[in-house]
Protein backbone atom coordinates (compact mmCIF):
# COMPACT_ATOMS: atom_id res chain seq x y z
CA UNK A 1 0.00 0.00 0.00
CA UNK A 2 1.54 3.29 -0.99
CA UNK A 3 0.91 6.28 1.20
CA UNK A 4 -1.50 8.87 -0.06
CA UNK A 5 -0.47 12.44 -0.52
CA UNK A 6 -2.52 15.26 0.92
CA UNK A 7 -1.89 18.89 0.04
CA UNK A 8 -2.20 21.47 2.79
CA UNK A 9 -2.49 25.11 1.71
CA UNK A 10 -1.03 27.57 4.18
CA UNK A 11 1.92 27.04 6.49
CA UNK A 12 0.69 28.93 9.51
CA UNK A 13 0.26 27.14 12.79
CA UNK A 14 -2.99 25.56 11.59
CA UNK A 15 -1.64 24.20 8.30
CA UNK A 16 1.50 22.98 10.04
CA UNK A 17 -0.54 21.15 12.64
CA UNK A 18 -2.75 19.57 9.99
CA UNK A 19 0.35 18.42 8.13
CA UNK A 20 1.82 17.03 11.31
CA UNK A 21 -1.25 14.99 12.26
CA UNK A 22 -1.70 13.78 8.68
CA UNK A 23 1.85 12.54 8.79
CA UNK A 24 1.13 10.83 12.11
CA UNK A 25 -1.84 9.10 10.50
CA UNK A 26 0.32 7.73 7.71
CA UNK A 27 -0.30 10.24 4.94
CA UNK A 28 2.38 12.11 3.01
CA UNK A 29 1.57 15.76 3.59
CA UNK A 30 2.69 18.38 1.09
CA UNK A 31 2.52 21.76 2.75
CA UNK A 32 2.70 24.86 0.58
CA UNK A 33 2.90 28.51 1.51
CA UNK A 34 3.05 31.63 -0.60
CA UNK A 35 6.01 32.84 1.46
CA UNK A 36 8.26 31.27 4.04
CA UNK A 37 6.29 29.41 6.69
CA UNK A 38 4.62 30.97 9.69
CA UNK A 39 5.10 34.56 8.61
CA UNK A 40 1.51 35.70 8.77
CA UNK A 41 -0.93 35.69 11.69
CA UNK A 42 0.78 32.79 13.44
CA UNK A 43 3.83 34.91 14.17
CA UNK A 44 1.90 38.13 14.77
CA UNK A 45 0.04 37.06 17.86
CA UNK A 46 0.44 36.04 21.46
CA UNK A 47 0.88 32.47 22.56
CA UNK A 48 -1.68 31.99 25.22
CA UNK A 49 -3.43 28.66 25.56
CA UNK A 50 -6.19 29.91 27.84
CA UNK A 51 -9.10 27.73 28.80
CA UNK A 52 -10.96 30.36 30.81
CA UNK A 53 -11.47 32.57 27.79
CA UNK A 54 -13.28 29.95 25.77
CA UNK A 55 -17.05 30.13 25.62
CA UNK A 56 -18.37 27.10 27.51
CA UNK A 57 -19.56 24.83 24.72
CA UNK A 58 -17.86 23.29 21.72
CA UNK A 59 -14.99 25.75 21.83
CA UNK A 60 -14.06 25.00 25.42
CA UNK A 61 -14.33 21.32 24.70
CA UNK A 62 -11.94 21.65 21.77
CA UNK A 63 -9.58 23.80 23.80
CA UNK A 64 -9.35 21.28 26.62
CA UNK A 65 -8.53 18.51 24.17
CA UNK A 66 -6.03 20.75 22.46
CA UNK A 67 -4.30 21.42 25.74
CA UNK A 68 -3.80 17.70 26.32
CA UNK A 69 -2.30 17.47 22.84
CA UNK A 70 0.06 20.35 23.66
CA UNK A 71 1.26 18.45 26.69
CA UNK A 72 2.04 15.48 24.46
CA UNK A 73 3.62 17.60 21.75
CA UNK A 74 5.90 19.39 24.16
CA UNK A 75 7.17 16.02 25.28
CA UNK A 76 7.42 14.52 21.84
CA UNK A 77 8.75 17.28 19.64
CA UNK A 78 12.46 17.72 19.98
CA UNK A 79 12.23 21.43 19.25
CA UNK A 80 11.38 23.36 22.42
CA UNK A 81 7.94 24.88 21.84
CA UNK A 82 8.18 26.81 25.13
CA UNK A 83 4.96 25.31 26.41
CA UNK A 84 4.55 26.32 30.05
CA UNK A 85 1.56 25.62 32.26
CA UNK A 86 1.78 28.82 34.20
CA UNK A 87 -1.84 29.10 35.28
CA UNK A 88 -4.01 32.05 34.39
CA UNK A 89 -5.92 34.89 36.00
CA UNK A 90 -9.02 36.61 34.67
CA UNK A 91 -8.91 40.09 36.15
CA UNK A 92 -12.16 41.54 37.44
CA UNK A 93 -12.38 45.31 37.64
CA UNK A 94 -15.76 45.55 39.32
CA UNK A 95 -18.76 43.81 40.77
CA UNK A 96 -20.62 43.83 37.43
CA UNK A 97 -17.86 41.92 35.66
CA UNK A 98 -17.69 39.53 38.58
CA UNK A 99 -21.38 38.81 38.27
CA UNK A 100 -21.15 37.96 34.55
CA UNK A 101 -18.09 35.81 35.12
CA UNK A 102 -19.58 33.91 38.04
CA UNK A 103 -22.26 32.62 35.71
CA UNK A 104 -19.62 31.56 33.19
CA UNK A 105 -17.61 29.87 35.94
CA UNK A 106 -20.51 27.58 36.77
CA UNK A 107 -20.84 26.56 33.13
CA UNK A 108 -17.09 26.03 32.80
CA UNK A 109 -17.13 23.66 35.73
CA UNK A 110 -19.67 21.46 33.99
CA UNK A 111 -17.01 20.99 31.28
CA UNK A 112 -14.51 19.92 33.89
CA UNK A 113 -12.57 23.16 34.01
CA UNK A 114 -11.63 23.96 37.62
CA UNK A 115 -11.69 27.68 38.37
CA UNK A 116 -11.43 29.59 41.61
CA UNK A 117 -12.63 33.06 42.55
CA UNK A 118 -9.99 35.14 44.38
CA UNK A 119 -10.27 38.42 46.23
CA UNK A 120 -7.91 41.11 45.04
CA UNK A 121 -5.90 40.52 48.18
CA UNK A 122 -5.47 36.84 47.32
CA UNK A 123 -4.80 37.65 43.70
CA UNK A 124 -2.06 40.13 44.58
CA UNK A 125 -0.32 37.46 46.57
CA UNK A 126 -0.05 35.45 43.37
CA UNK A 127 0.73 38.42 41.19
CA UNK A 128 2.08 41.47 43.03
CA UNK A 129 2.01 43.74 39.95
CA UNK A 130 -1.79 43.90 40.11
CA UNK A 131 -3.53 47.09 41.12
CA UNK A 132 -5.15 47.26 44.56
CA UNK A 133 -8.14 48.89 42.92
CA UNK A 134 -9.25 45.75 41.15
CA UNK A 135 -12.16 43.75 42.46
CA UNK A 136 -10.58 40.32 42.26
CA UNK A 137 -9.60 37.55 39.86
CA UNK A 138 -10.50 34.07 38.74
CA UNK A 139 -7.70 31.57 38.83
CA UNK A 140 -7.27 28.40 36.80
CA UNK A 141 -4.20 26.22 36.73
CA UNK A 142 -5.20 24.91 33.32
CA UNK A 143 -4.05 28.00 31.46
CA UNK A 144 -0.75 27.81 29.65
CA UNK A 145 1.45 29.57 27.15
CA UNK A 146 3.46 28.48 24.16
CA UNK A 147 5.69 30.12 21.58
CA UNK A 148 3.65 30.00 18.36
CA UNK A 149 6.67 30.63 16.15
CA UNK A 150 8.44 27.71 17.76
CA UNK A 151 5.34 25.50 17.51
CA UNK A 152 5.08 26.09 13.77
CA UNK A 153 8.77 25.44 13.28
CA UNK A 154 8.75 22.36 15.48
CA UNK A 155 5.79 20.81 13.69
CA UNK A 156 7.38 21.49 10.32
CA UNK A 157 10.68 20.05 11.42
CA UNK A 158 8.94 16.88 12.48
CA UNK A 159 6.92 16.65 9.27
CA UNK A 160 10.08 16.94 7.21
CA UNK A 161 11.96 14.52 9.42
CA UNK A 162 9.39 11.87 8.66
CA UNK A 163 9.47 12.41 4.95
CA UNK A 164 6.75 15.03 4.43
CA UNK A 165 7.30 17.80 1.92
CA UNK A 166 7.21 21.51 2.62
CA UNK A 167 7.30 23.99 -0.20
CA UNK A 168 7.82 27.63 0.71
CA UNK A 169 7.31 30.39 -1.87
CA UNK A 170 4.61 28.35 -3.57
CA UNK A 171 1.49 30.41 -4.02
CA UNK A 172 -1.75 28.61 -4.68
CA UNK A 173 -3.51 30.43 -7.50
CA UNK A 174 -6.44 28.11 -7.98
CA UNK A 175 -7.77 24.71 -7.08
CA UNK A 176 -7.56 21.84 -9.54
CA UNK A 177 -11.16 20.73 -9.96
CA UNK A 178 -12.16 17.84 -12.21
CA UNK A 179 -15.78 16.73 -12.52
CA UNK A 180 -16.62 18.69 -9.46
CA UNK A 181 -13.91 17.03 -7.37
CA UNK A 182 -10.93 18.82 -5.95
CA UNK A 183 -7.87 16.85 -6.94
CA UNK A 184 -5.02 19.26 -6.51
CA UNK A 185 -3.82 22.83 -6.79
CA UNK A 186 -2.45 25.22 -9.36
CA UNK A 187 0.50 27.22 -8.09
CA UNK A 188 3.01 29.70 -9.39
CA UNK A 189 5.34 26.71 -9.60
CA UNK A 190 3.01 24.40 -11.47
CA UNK A 191 0.22 21.98 -10.76
CA UNK A 192 0.21 19.43 -7.99
CA UNK A 193 -2.17 16.57 -7.46
CA UNK A 194 -3.18 14.77 -4.33
CA UNK A 195 -5.86 12.61 -2.78
CA UNK A 196 -7.23 15.54 -0.80
CA UNK A 197 -6.61 19.24 -0.29
CA UNK A 198 -6.82 21.06 3.02
CA UNK A 199 -7.38 24.80 2.95
CA UNK A 200 -5.62 26.41 5.90
CA UNK A 201 -4.87 29.73 4.27
CA UNK A 202 -5.98 31.83 7.24
CA UNK A 203 -7.64 35.08 6.26
CA UNK A 204 -7.13 34.19 2.58
CA UNK A 205 -9.00 30.88 2.81
CA UNK A 206 -12.29 31.92 1.29
CA UNK A 207 -10.85 33.70 -1.73
CA UNK A 208 -9.56 30.37 -3.06
CA UNK A 209 -12.98 28.79 -3.25
CA UNK A 210 -15.09 31.82 -4.11
CA UNK A 211 -15.11 31.06 -7.84
CA UNK A 212 -16.58 27.64 -7.10
CA UNK A 213 -19.50 29.15 -5.28
CA UNK A 214 -18.27 28.37 -1.81
CA UNK A 215 -17.31 31.52 0.03
CA UNK A 216 -17.51 31.30 3.81
CA UNK A 217 -17.24 34.71 5.40
CA UNK A 218 -13.79 35.12 6.91
CA UNK A 219 -13.08 38.64 8.02
CA UNK A 220 -9.67 39.88 9.09
CA UNK A 221 -9.86 41.28 12.60
CA UNK A 222 -6.76 43.21 13.46
CA UNK A 223 -5.03 42.90 16.78
CA UNK A 224 -2.24 45.22 17.84
CA UNK A 225 0.25 44.10 20.44
CA UNK A 226 3.03 45.72 22.49
CA UNK A 227 6.39 44.12 23.13
CA UNK A 228 8.52 45.21 26.06
CA UNK A 229 12.15 44.86 26.87
CA UNK A 230 13.17 41.62 28.53
CA UNK A 231 13.44 41.48 32.31
CA UNK A 232 13.72 38.73 34.92
CA UNK A 233 10.60 36.59 35.42
CA UNK A 234 8.07 38.81 37.20
CA UNK A 235 4.68 38.30 35.58
CA UNK A 236 4.08 34.75 36.65
CA UNK A 237 0.67 34.06 35.12
CA UNK A 238 -1.10 34.54 31.87
CA UNK A 239 -3.58 37.29 32.54
CA UNK A 240 -6.59 38.57 30.71
CA UNK A 241 -9.09 41.18 31.78
CA UNK A 242 -12.72 40.31 32.08
CA UNK A 243 -13.55 43.03 29.62
CA UNK A 244 -11.40 41.14 27.11
CA UNK A 245 -13.85 38.32 27.48
CA UNK A 246 -16.68 40.74 27.22
CA UNK A 247 -15.12 42.21 24.08
CA UNK A 248 -14.86 38.71 22.74
CA UNK A 249 -18.25 37.34 23.58
CA UNK A 250 -20.50 40.21 24.62
CA UNK A 251 -19.57 43.25 22.57
CA UNK A 252 -23.04 44.61 23.36
CA UNK A 253 -22.04 45.10 26.99
CA UNK A 254 -19.36 47.59 26.04
CA UNK A 255 -19.76 51.34 25.78
CA UNK A 256 -19.25 52.03 22.07
CA UNK A 257 -18.41 55.68 22.69
CA UNK A 258 -15.30 54.90 24.71
CA UNK A 259 -12.06 54.69 22.71
CA UNK A 260 -11.14 51.48 24.47
CA UNK A 261 -14.23 49.78 23.20
CA UNK A 262 -14.15 51.39 19.76
CA UNK A 263 -10.80 49.69 19.33
CA UNK A 264 -11.99 46.59 21.12
CA UNK A 265 -9.14 46.72 23.59
CA UNK A 266 -9.02 43.97 26.15
CA UNK A 267 -5.81 43.16 27.94
CA UNK A 268 -4.00 39.86 27.45
CA UNK A 269 -0.57 39.75 29.01
CA UNK A 270 2.13 37.14 29.23
CA UNK A 271 5.84 37.14 29.93
CA UNK A 272 7.60 34.91 27.43
CA UNK A 273 10.35 32.45 28.16
CA UNK A 274 12.72 35.09 26.79
CA UNK A 275 11.63 37.63 29.40
CA UNK A 276 9.71 40.02 27.20
CA UNK A 277 6.11 40.96 27.86
CA UNK A 278 3.56 40.62 25.12
CA UNK A 279 0.63 42.89 25.85
CA UNK A 280 -2.45 42.75 23.67
CA UNK A 281 -4.61 43.81 22.07
CA UNK A 282 -7.10 45.56 19.88
CA UNK A 283 -9.96 44.01 17.90
CA UNK A 284 -10.55 46.10 14.79
CA UNK A 285 -12.11 45.58 11.39
CA UNK A 286 -9.83 47.41 8.98
CA UNK A 287 -9.42 44.90 6.17
CA UNK A 288 -6.01 43.53 5.30
CA UNK A 289 -4.04 46.22 7.06
CA UNK A 290 -1.20 45.33 9.36
CA UNK A 291 -0.26 48.82 10.51
CA UNK A 292 -0.09 49.63 14.16
CA UNK A 293 -1.66 52.91 15.22
CA UNK A 294 -0.82 55.44 17.85
CA UNK A 295 -4.32 55.28 19.21
CA UNK A 296 -4.22 51.53 19.34
CA UNK A 297 -0.95 51.12 21.15
CA UNK A 298 -1.64 53.91 23.59
CA UNK A 299 -4.99 52.49 24.47
CA UNK A 300 -3.42 49.13 25.20
CA UNK A 301 -0.82 50.79 27.42
CA UNK A 302 -3.49 52.77 29.26
CA UNK A 303 -5.51 49.75 30.02
CA UNK A 304 -2.62 47.69 31.28
CA UNK A 305 -1.50 50.58 33.49
CA UNK A 306 -4.92 50.55 35.08
CA UNK A 307 -4.64 46.83 35.81
CA UNK A 308 -0.91 46.57 36.62
CA UNK A 309 0.58 49.88 37.64
CA UNK A 310 3.58 47.94 38.93
CA UNK A 311 4.82 47.65 35.33
CA UNK A 312 4.97 51.37 34.71
CA UNK A 313 8.72 51.61 34.23
CA UNK A 314 9.02 48.74 31.82
CA UNK A 315 10.06 49.93 28.36
CA UNK A 316 7.97 49.18 25.33
CA UNK A 317 10.27 48.46 22.41
CA UNK A 318 7.93 47.49 19.63
CA UNK A 319 4.39 47.05 18.51
CA UNK A 320 3.07 44.76 15.84
CA UNK A 321 -0.26 43.62 14.58
CA UNK A 322 -1.83 40.49 13.17
CA UNK A 323 -5.04 39.66 11.40
CA UNK A 324 -7.32 37.16 13.08
CA UNK A 325 -9.39 35.08 10.69
CA UNK A 326 -12.87 35.71 12.10
CA UNK A 327 -15.95 33.79 11.04
CA UNK A 328 -19.52 34.97 11.41
CA UNK A 329 -20.46 32.74 14.32
CA UNK A 330 -17.02 32.94 15.92
CA UNK A 331 -16.41 29.21 15.49
CA UNK A 332 -13.68 27.80 13.26
CA UNK A 333 -14.59 26.08 10.00
CA UNK A 334 -13.34 22.54 10.16
CA UNK A 335 -13.95 19.66 7.79
CA UNK A 336 -15.09 18.62 4.32
CA UNK A 337 -16.79 21.04 1.97
CA UNK A 338 -20.03 19.55 0.64
CA UNK A 339 -19.94 21.60 -2.55
CA UNK A 340 -16.36 20.59 -3.33
CA UNK A 341 -15.61 16.95 -2.56
CA UNK A 342 -11.91 16.41 -1.85
CA UNK A 343 -11.54 19.80 -0.18
CA UNK A 344 -11.34 20.25 3.58
CA UNK A 345 -11.32 23.51 5.53
CA UNK A 346 -9.20 24.26 8.57
CA UNK A 347 -9.60 27.94 9.11
CA UNK A 348 -11.38 30.78 10.86
CA UNK A 349 -9.89 30.38 14.33
CA UNK A 350 -9.98 34.09 15.02
CA UNK A 351 -8.24 34.71 18.33
CA UNK A 352 -7.90 31.09 19.35
CA UNK A 353 -5.83 29.57 16.58
CA UNK A 354 -2.78 28.97 18.70
CA UNK A 355 -4.71 27.26 21.45
CA UNK A 356 -6.74 25.22 18.97
CA UNK A 357 -4.01 24.31 16.49
CA UNK A 358 -3.26 20.79 17.77
CA UNK A 359 -6.88 19.68 18.02
CA UNK A 360 -7.58 21.17 14.61
CA UNK A 361 -4.81 19.15 13.07
CA UNK A 362 -6.00 16.02 14.77
CA UNK A 363 -9.64 16.46 13.78
CA UNK A 364 -8.74 17.10 10.16
CA UNK A 365 -6.47 14.08 9.96
CA UNK A 366 -9.17 11.92 11.54
CA UNK A 367 -11.82 13.22 9.16
CA UNK A 368 -9.64 12.61 6.12
CA UNK A 369 -8.90 9.10 7.30
CA UNK A 370 -12.63 8.49 7.87
CA UNK A 371 -13.49 9.36 4.29
CA UNK A 372 -11.43 6.34 3.35
CA UNK A 373 -9.05 8.30 1.20
CA UNK A 374 -6.31 6.15 2.65
CA UNK A 375 -7.11 2.77 1.27
Amino acid sequence: MTKKEVIVIGGGIIGSSVAYFLKEKGYWPILVDKDNFGKETSSACEGTVIMQSKQPGPKLELALKSRTLYQELSRKLVYDIEYREKGGLVLLENEQQAAIMKKTMLEQETFGLQVKLLTIHEARKLEPVLSKNLWGAIYSDADAQVNPIAVTRALLQDVVKDGGTILPHTKVEDLLVEQGNVCGIKTNRGEMRAAAVVNAAGIWSSSLTARYGYEPKIIPRRGQILVTEAFPPTVRHIMICACYLAAKHHPELLDPTKLQHKLGVGTVIEQTVHGQLLIGSTREFVGINKETTLAGIQEIARHVMKLMPGLKNINVIRSFSGLRPKTENGLPILGPVKELPGLFMATGHEGDGIALAPITGKILADQIAETGILS
Partner: protein, 257 residues
Protein backbone atom coordinates in the same frame (compact mmCIF):
# COMPACT_ATOMS: atom_id res chain seq x y z
CA UNK B 1 20.77 17.68 -6.27
CA UNK B 2 19.63 14.32 -5.04
CA UNK B 3 20.08 13.86 -1.34
CA UNK B 4 20.92 10.80 0.65
CA UNK B 5 23.98 8.99 1.91
CA UNK B 6 25.20 7.85 -1.46
CA UNK B 7 24.88 11.27 -3.02
CA UNK B 8 26.25 13.65 -0.50
CA UNK B 9 27.55 11.50 2.31
CA UNK B 10 24.86 12.65 4.74
CA UNK B 11 21.72 10.83 5.73
CA UNK B 12 18.70 12.46 4.14
CA UNK B 13 15.81 13.36 6.39
CA UNK B 14 13.95 10.23 5.47
CA UNK B 15 17.07 8.15 6.06
CA UNK B 16 17.53 9.81 9.43
CA UNK B 17 13.94 9.03 10.32
CA UNK B 18 14.54 5.39 9.49
CA UNK B 19 17.36 5.04 12.03
CA UNK B 20 15.85 6.93 14.96
CA UNK B 21 14.41 4.94 17.85
CA UNK B 22 10.85 5.89 18.84
CA UNK B 23 10.25 9.21 20.53
CA UNK B 24 9.08 7.42 23.68
CA UNK B 25 12.42 5.65 23.92
CA UNK B 26 14.29 8.94 23.74
CA UNK B 27 12.26 10.26 26.63
CA UNK B 28 13.45 7.38 28.79
CA UNK B 29 17.14 8.19 28.62
CA UNK B 30 20.29 7.60 26.59
CA UNK B 31 19.93 5.40 23.54
CA UNK B 32 22.07 4.49 20.56
CA UNK B 33 21.32 5.91 17.13
CA UNK B 34 22.94 3.69 14.53
CA UNK B 35 23.45 5.68 11.36
CA UNK B 36 24.48 2.70 9.29
CA UNK B 37 22.05 2.02 6.46
CA UNK B 38 24.06 0.23 3.81
CA UNK B 39 24.53 -3.50 3.52
CA UNK B 40 28.26 -3.41 4.09
CA UNK B 41 30.09 -6.40 5.56
CA UNK B 42 30.75 -5.23 9.07
CA UNK B 43 29.67 -6.36 12.53
CA UNK B 44 31.86 -5.27 15.45
CA UNK B 45 28.93 -3.32 16.93
CA UNK B 46 26.99 -6.52 17.45
CA UNK B 47 29.72 -8.04 19.59
CA UNK B 48 30.46 -4.81 21.38
CA UNK B 49 27.07 -4.64 23.07
CA UNK B 50 27.02 -6.24 26.53
CA UNK B 51 23.22 -6.27 26.44
CA UNK B 52 22.76 -7.90 23.03
CA UNK B 53 20.79 -4.88 21.93
CA UNK B 54 22.30 -4.82 18.43
CA UNK B 55 21.47 -7.56 15.99
CA UNK B 56 23.17 -8.28 12.69
CA UNK B 57 23.10 -12.05 12.62
CA UNK B 58 25.03 -14.51 10.49
CA UNK B 59 24.60 -12.46 7.38
CA UNK B 60 27.32 -9.94 8.04
CA UNK B 61 26.11 -7.53 5.40
CA UNK B 62 22.77 -7.14 7.15
CA UNK B 63 22.11 -3.65 8.50
CA UNK B 64 22.39 -3.52 12.30
CA UNK B 65 19.07 -3.46 14.13
CA UNK B 66 18.78 -1.85 17.52
CA UNK B 67 16.50 -3.32 20.13
CA UNK B 68 15.94 -0.01 21.76
CA UNK B 69 14.37 -1.40 24.91
CA UNK B 70 17.54 -3.36 25.65
CA UNK B 71 19.91 -0.51 24.94
CA UNK B 72 21.14 1.32 28.02
CA UNK B 73 23.11 3.93 26.10
CA UNK B 74 26.49 2.84 27.50
CA UNK B 75 28.29 3.88 24.33
CA UNK B 76 30.46 0.80 23.86
CA UNK B 77 29.13 0.35 20.35
CA UNK B 78 29.81 3.97 19.49
CA UNK B 79 33.38 3.52 20.68
CA UNK B 80 33.90 0.42 18.57
CA UNK B 81 32.05 1.06 15.32
CA UNK B 82 34.77 1.30 12.65
CA UNK B 83 32.55 3.58 10.60
CA UNK B 84 32.11 6.01 13.51
CA UNK B 85 28.44 5.80 12.66
CA UNK B 86 26.90 5.27 16.10
CA UNK B 87 25.86 8.09 18.42
CA UNK B 88 24.30 8.03 21.85
CA UNK B 89 21.53 10.55 22.33
CA UNK B 90 20.24 11.34 25.80
CA UNK B 91 17.09 13.41 25.54
CA UNK B 92 16.40 13.11 29.24
CA UNK B 93 19.37 15.21 30.28
CA UNK B 94 17.36 18.34 31.04
CA UNK B 95 14.24 20.15 29.94
CA UNK B 96 16.07 22.09 27.29
CA UNK B 97 19.25 20.18 26.57
CA UNK B 98 20.16 16.77 25.28
CA UNK B 99 23.51 15.02 25.48
CA UNK B 100 25.08 13.55 22.38
CA UNK B 101 27.95 11.15 22.85
CA UNK B 102 29.99 10.75 19.72
CA UNK B 103 33.16 9.00 18.58
CA UNK B 104 36.07 11.35 18.04
CA UNK B 105 39.48 10.76 16.49
CA UNK B 106 41.14 14.15 16.13
CA UNK B 107 43.79 15.93 18.12
CA UNK B 108 43.75 18.05 20.13
CA UNK B 109 41.09 16.47 22.28
CA UNK B 110 38.56 18.82 23.82
CA UNK B 111 38.52 19.39 27.55
CA UNK B 112 35.52 18.94 29.75
CA UNK B 113 33.71 22.24 30.07
CA UNK B 114 34.93 23.57 26.71
CA UNK B 115 32.40 25.41 24.61
CA UNK B 116 32.53 24.09 21.06
CA UNK B 117 30.45 24.47 17.91
CA UNK B 118 28.06 21.59 17.31
CA UNK B 119 27.97 20.75 13.62
CA UNK B 120 25.52 18.83 11.47
CA UNK B 121 26.03 15.76 9.34
CA UNK B 122 27.23 18.05 6.60
CA UNK B 123 29.60 19.95 8.83
CA UNK B 124 27.43 23.06 9.08
CA UNK B 125 27.55 24.92 12.35
CA UNK B 126 24.28 24.42 14.20
CA UNK B 127 24.57 25.60 17.77
CA UNK B 128 27.08 25.94 20.53
CA UNK B 129 27.62 22.88 22.66
CA UNK B 130 29.39 22.23 25.92
CA UNK B 131 31.77 19.33 26.40
CA UNK B 132 30.46 17.31 29.29
CA UNK B 133 32.76 14.34 29.26
CA UNK B 134 35.77 12.97 27.40
CA UNK B 135 36.05 9.24 27.80
CA UNK B 136 38.53 6.65 26.58
CA UNK B 137 37.31 3.07 26.25
CA UNK B 138 39.99 0.40 26.11
CA UNK B 139 37.99 -1.66 23.66
CA UNK B 140 37.87 1.28 21.27
CA UNK B 141 41.48 1.13 20.08
CA UNK B 142 41.98 4.79 20.68
CA UNK B 143 38.64 6.22 19.62
CA UNK B 144 37.53 8.78 22.18
CA UNK B 145 33.93 9.23 23.23
CA UNK B 146 33.03 12.85 23.67
CA UNK B 147 29.73 13.84 25.27
CA UNK B 148 28.38 17.27 24.47
CA UNK B 149 25.24 19.03 25.59
CA UNK B 150 23.21 20.60 22.84
CA UNK B 151 19.86 22.39 22.66
CA UNK B 152 17.27 19.64 22.56
CA UNK B 153 15.82 20.77 19.28
CA UNK B 154 19.12 19.92 17.62
CA UNK B 155 19.63 16.48 19.09
CA UNK B 156 18.92 14.82 15.78
CA UNK B 157 20.88 17.40 13.83
CA UNK B 158 24.20 17.79 15.60
CA UNK B 159 26.56 14.91 14.95
CA UNK B 160 30.02 16.33 15.52
CA UNK B 161 31.70 19.45 16.75
CA UNK B 162 34.62 21.70 16.08
CA UNK B 163 36.48 24.37 17.97
CA UNK B 164 34.85 27.77 18.02
CA UNK B 165 35.90 30.10 15.25
CA UNK B 166 35.83 33.86 15.07
CA UNK B 167 32.42 33.87 13.37
CA UNK B 168 30.95 31.64 16.06
CA UNK B 169 31.95 34.10 18.72
CA UNK B 170 31.13 37.20 16.72
CA UNK B 171 27.83 38.41 18.00
CA UNK B 172 25.74 40.16 15.39
CA UNK B 173 22.57 40.74 17.41
CA UNK B 174 23.78 41.98 20.76
CA UNK B 175 20.42 42.09 22.48
CA UNK B 176 19.60 38.45 21.87
CA UNK B 177 23.24 37.35 21.56
CA UNK B 178 22.88 35.79 18.13
CA UNK B 179 26.14 34.99 16.36
CA UNK B 180 27.14 35.34 12.75
CA UNK B 181 27.25 31.57 12.44
CA UNK B 182 23.68 31.18 13.64
CA UNK B 183 22.49 33.75 11.16
CA UNK B 184 24.35 32.17 8.29
CA UNK B 185 22.84 28.83 9.18
CA UNK B 186 19.32 30.26 9.13
CA UNK B 187 19.94 31.81 5.72
CA UNK B 188 21.24 28.54 4.37
CA UNK B 189 18.06 26.91 5.60
CA UNK B 190 15.92 29.23 3.53
CA UNK B 191 15.55 32.46 5.49
CA UNK B 192 16.18 35.07 2.82
CA UNK B 193 14.72 38.22 4.34
CA UNK B 194 15.58 40.06 7.51
CA UNK B 195 12.20 39.04 8.90
CA UNK B 196 12.80 35.38 8.11
CA UNK B 197 16.11 35.53 9.95
CA UNK B 198 14.39 37.18 12.86
CA UNK B 199 11.72 34.50 13.09
CA UNK B 200 14.32 31.78 12.78
CA UNK B 201 16.89 33.11 15.23
CA UNK B 202 15.36 35.98 17.27
CA UNK B 203 18.03 38.30 15.87
CA UNK B 204 16.55 41.78 15.98
CA UNK B 205 13.82 40.96 18.47
CA UNK B 206 15.64 42.49 21.41
CA UNK B 207 15.76 45.87 23.07
CA UNK B 208 17.29 47.78 20.15
CA UNK B 209 14.89 46.23 17.64
CA UNK B 210 17.60 45.59 15.12
CA UNK B 211 19.12 49.05 15.09
CA UNK B 212 22.60 47.67 15.51
CA UNK B 213 22.30 44.41 13.60
CA UNK B 214 19.88 45.02 10.76
CA UNK B 215 22.49 46.09 8.21
CA UNK B 216 24.85 43.36 9.21
CA UNK B 217 22.09 40.78 8.79
CA UNK B 218 21.24 42.16 5.35
CA UNK B 219 24.88 41.96 4.38
CA UNK B 220 25.09 38.34 5.48
CA UNK B 221 21.92 37.44 3.59
CA UNK B 222 23.28 39.12 0.46
CA UNK B 223 26.56 37.32 0.85
CA UNK B 224 24.98 33.93 1.37
CA UNK B 225 22.30 34.20 -1.31
CA UNK B 226 24.31 36.08 -3.89
CA UNK B 227 21.71 38.84 -3.96
CA UNK B 228 22.88 42.42 -4.18
CA UNK B 229 22.61 44.26 -0.87
CA UNK B 230 20.04 46.71 -2.30
CA UNK B 231 17.66 43.83 -2.87
CA UNK B 232 17.55 42.96 0.81
CA UNK B 233 14.94 45.30 2.21
CA UNK B 234 14.98 46.33 5.85
CA UNK B 235 12.30 44.70 8.00
CA UNK B 236 9.05 46.48 8.76
CA UNK B 237 9.56 49.37 11.18
CA UNK B 238 7.11 49.74 14.02
CA UNK B 239 6.32 52.21 16.75
CA UNK B 240 7.75 53.11 19.16
CA UNK B 241 11.05 53.85 17.45
CA UNK B 242 12.64 54.51 20.85
CA UNK B 243 12.02 52.47 23.98
CA UNK B 244 9.33 54.19 25.98
CA UNK B 245 8.09 53.23 29.45
CA UNK B 246 4.55 51.90 29.60
CA UNK B 247 3.44 54.76 31.82
CA UNK B 248 4.59 57.35 29.28
CA UNK B 249 3.03 55.46 26.43
CA UNK B 250 -0.25 55.46 28.31
CA UNK B 251 -0.56 59.24 28.02
CA UNK B 252 -4.03 60.44 28.78
CA UNK B 253 -6.95 59.17 26.82
CA UNK B 254 -8.25 61.30 24.04
CA UNK B 255 -5.03 63.13 23.24
CA UNK B 256 -4.41 61.14 20.16
CA UNK B 257 -7.68 59.98 18.76
Amino acid sequence: MKCGLIYDGCLSQAETASVLPAAERFAKGPVAVIECIQDIPCNPCEKSCPHQAIIIGDNITAVPRLQADRCVGCGLCAAQCPGLAIFIVDASYSATEAVITLPYEYYPLPKEGDIVMGVSRSGAAVAKARVLKVRRETAAYGTILVSITVPKKFMHTIRSFRALREADKRIVCRCEEITETEIRLAVRQGANTVKDVKLATRAGMGACQGTSCRREISRIIAEETGASPEEILPPRFRMPVRPIPLAQLAAEEGKND
